[in-house]
């Protein structure tokens, strides 16, 4: 057996989970286990107490509420990928999910797990950032709503207190017919991306860009929005030249460096990924989008 010793707790409700979080020493939530279990097998993390939330049914619901999708943190990536509601109301999320690991890992992996683990190359945080999502956290002390913009507190550090758990995410849906694009660059399909871009786009009646939202993954410590790119696009007539100049702002992201790529290379990739995702989103918006 590979993980170091721990005590195992299996709550069946959220209140029970919050009790465990409030009282146990050095607790760690086990959701889909596709990041935590490798880290425990490697002994990078050695929690004293594992709280397995796989039997907390109330954390897995997906529902539409007033122009938004509310997705439980334990919703599995594969279930979301196959959800009609997600495909219809939040097609960017569907598109991005196809790049999250493989079917075999998406069968277990959860959206809340992706967000709480907050790998710099994760797709879900960028998608939620582009969507201005709100994250819902709970603890014995009460509940808290956190804007996606405030979620990443640095390298793999979500805005969660030790006794808190991410319970759900609210994703405001864009109008029907909006354009969306998700493109990433990885050496092999399903690998961690060196850079990826998520784009949402609406056109006005005259074909000009009404509103654009652009977020990157894999380039910096956490997901980043590109407000300068968005401002450069707003109100303009889409063209290859416009996308070229707007996407160029992606090179201003500081960038991270590791064995896979230098930060200079990541910034170059970020510009190309942004341009491609913009093209994809435009094609879809012009074809009637979602």
């Amino acid at each position: 057996m590979k993980p170091p010793p721990f005590s195992y707790h299996r709550p069946e409700s959220l209140p029970q989970t919050l009790d465990f979080l409030a009282t146990l020493d050095d607790p760690k939530i086990l959701a889909g286990g596709q990041s935590l279990m490798p880290m425990m097998n490697f002994r990078y993390v050695m929690p004293a107490n594992i709280i397995d939330i796989n039997r907390v049914a109330e954390l897995s619901t997906v529902e539409e509420t007033g122009g938004a999708l509310r997705i439980g943190a334990m919703a599995r990536q594969r279930d979301l990928e196959l959800s009609d509601l997600v495909q219809r109301r939040c097609p960017l999320l569907h598109e991005a999910l196809l790049n999250v690991g493989h079917v075999q890992t998406r069968n277990r992996g959860t959206i809340g797990g992706s967000l709480s683990h907050l790998d710099p190359a994760a797709e879900m945080p960028a998608v939620l950032h582009a969507h201005d999502a709100t994250l819902h956290a709970a603890s014995k002390r009460g509940t808290r709503d956190i804007a996606m913009a405030d979620w990443s507190q640095g390298f793999m550090t979500p805005n969660l207190e030790p006794d808190e758990i991410l319970t759900a995410i609210t994703i405001p849906c864009w109008p029907e017919g909006h354009g969306y694009g998700f493109v990433e660059f990885a050496r092999r399909h399903g690998d961690f991306a060196m850079a990826g871009a998520a784009v949402l786009l609406t056109l006005d009646a005259g074909g000009k860009i009404d509103r654009a939202s652009v977020a990157l993954t894999g380039v910096d410590n956490g997901p980043v929005r590109l407000p300068e790119t968005e401002a450069a696009l707003s109100g303009q007539t889409p063209s290859p030249d416009l996308f070229e100049s707007a996407a160029a702002h992606a090179s201003s992201v500081p960038g991270i460096e590791d064995v896979h790529a230098t930060k200079e290379y990541r910034r170059k990739l970020a510009v190309v990924m942004t341009k491609r995702a913009l093209g994809q989103a435009l094609d879809r918006a012009q074809a009637g989008g979602a």
């Binding site: 057996m1 590979k2 993980p3 170091p4 010793p5 721990f6 005590s7 195992y8 707790h9 299996r10 086990l30 286990g33 596709q34 279990m37 490798p38 097998n41 490697f42 594992i50 397995d52 796989n54 594969r78 690991g101 493989h102 079917v103 075999q104 890992t105 069968n107 277990r108 092999r188 399909h189 399903g190």
Partner: protein, 164 residues
């Protein structure tokens, strides 16, 4: 507050009850406790796909599951596929198409392709390759495995029996 737990699960159609340490992975439970060594362990961090099994009919990495998490669930491994020595159409297609050489990745490949063919009875080559991206093979160059999957899909649809 448990360090050991009694679990009951169904493995290859048979009910199994054991008391296990909570930190025992499902992969080690299958291999060491049940002596089902057909499930292979490669990387032990979810990347290589050799330990892929079916959990309630869906593929999962058995190295990334605790055995105690599968309490009450159903696990299918390569040992449960053939019926009294009669190979499944998928297994037969692997033989016919040279879908294996050393065989280390094969149990995981078979689990993945079993779920694929259950989900998409008429997959395209691209779909097969996408599903297989979660399983690493170092011998075959994948072509034989892709051919086997497409051949098995045909056989399962009744278009031409594998091995014919």
């Amino acid at each position: 507050m448990a360090e050991r737990l009694e679990i009951t699960l169904t493995v290859n159609g048979e009910s199994v009850t054991r008391e296990v340490p909570v930190r025992l992975t499902l992969a080690d439970f299958l291999r060491h406790e049940l002596e089902l060594t057909g499930t292979h362990l490669g990387c032990e961090h979810g990347v290589c796909g050799a330990c892929t099994i079916l959990l309630d009919g869906k593929t999962a990495r058995s190295c990334l599951l605790l055995a105690v998490q599968t309490d009450g669930m159903s696990v299918d491994t390569v040992e449960g596929m053939a019926d009294n020595g009669a190979l499944t159409p998928l297994q037969q297609a692997f033989i016919d198409n040279h879908g294996l050489q050393c065989g280390f990745c094969t149990p995981g490949m078979l689990a993945t392709l079993t779920e694929l063919l259950d989900t998409i009875p008429d997959p395209s080559e691209q779909e097969v390759r996408e599903w297989l991206s979660g399983n690493i093979c170092r011998c075959t160059g994948y072509q034989g495995i892709v051919d086997a999957a497409l051949d098995a899909a045909k056989a399962l649809r009744g278009e031409s029996p594998a091995g014919a």
